[in-house]
Amino acid sequence: MGVEELVAALGDNVLTTTLNKVIGWGRGNSVWPAQFGLACCAIEMIAVATARLDIGRFGSEAMRASPRQADLMIVSGRVSQKMAPVLRTVYDQMPEPKWVISMGACASTGGVFNNYALLQGVDKIVPVDVYVPGCPPRPEDLLNALMILQERIKARGIATQP
């Protein structure tokens, strides 16, 4: 079988789809979270990184202190009106492609604190990919959210727009 025939038989898409998969696989298995702890959920976020649960099994143990090196923001806790602009700034500083996990009831909806001080859901200021219920969620829930996100990243591959 000659090269021409091979190209004719397979079309232009083989390399692109394969690369797509490779990039999706690579991105999905090395999601680096920004170290962005806010409240109670941050403690459970730390617990995820420790020996019993070990987020390193999923390739996300490298919690980056600088948003410039991170591609996942875990909003772990309640976001106050005063913190909201800061959170948005941190999000803007992260390079594309980037994802957001809204961890816990407070970040997702305001939780038990339905009042003047809190942002009633972080999705008002940043796009959220996965919501984790619980107040605070069990660390296993966060791992589950990470796995859901990984599936999505792998499926999306190289495309930056969903």
């Binding site: 009106q81 005063k82 305001g110 339905n114 003047y116 809190l118």
Partner: protein, 161 residues
């Protein structure tokens, strides 16, 4: 001891000793207590008595100082009432350094002005925030939860306020 002339009322509620004093002489009272050994200001706060049918209050805002003598140990609560459009009381930050942030918080949350405070600015809310959240006529805010008890009466503010 606090001079008798400064004591408007005193008593014991739920095993806590308290004394009510005139707001304009608060510094005198607290310095006297400090000399007596009550050297720790545990906390300073304010209670808004806008519509409270259970009791009679001389004015809308009650400033509460909880003092402690670490040697005995014993607690005493000092109350002072202030009212009016712009409630005002003397700052005690030089007598008790812990009062500094407590007074800023009380100003932020209730709008009580502490005369003589070195930097009376908002501490918890953003600087450009309007209103004083812990006042009873400030709504709780947030989002209305449908079919809940609060759906109609979400605001703690009464109609006449």
């Amino acid at each position: 001891m606090i001079p008798d002339a400064l004591v408007l009322e005193k008593g014991i509620t739920a095993r806590d000793q308290w004394v009510t004093v005139p707001a304009e002489r608060i510094r005198e009272v607290l310095s006297a207590l400090k000399t007596d050994g009550y050297r720790l200001l545990v906390f300073l706060t304010c209670v808004d008595h806008l519509i409270d049918s259970s009791r009679e209050f001389p004015a809308r805002f009650e400033i509460v100082y909880q003092l402690r003598d670490l040697e005995k140990p014993a607690d005493i609560r000092v109350r002072a009432f202030v009212g009016g459009e712009s409630p005002r009381i003397d700052s005690v930050h030089d007598l008790f350094p812990t009062a500094n942030w407590d007074e800023r918080e009380t100003y932020d949350m209730f709008g009580i002005v502490f005369s003589g405070h070195p930097g009376l600015t908002r501490i918890l809310m953003p600087d450009d925030w309007v209103g004083h959240p812990l006042r009873r006529d400030f709504p709780v805010g947030g989002e209305v939860v449908e079919f809940s008890e609060e759906h109609q009466t979400w605001q703690t503010a009464p109609d006449e306020a």
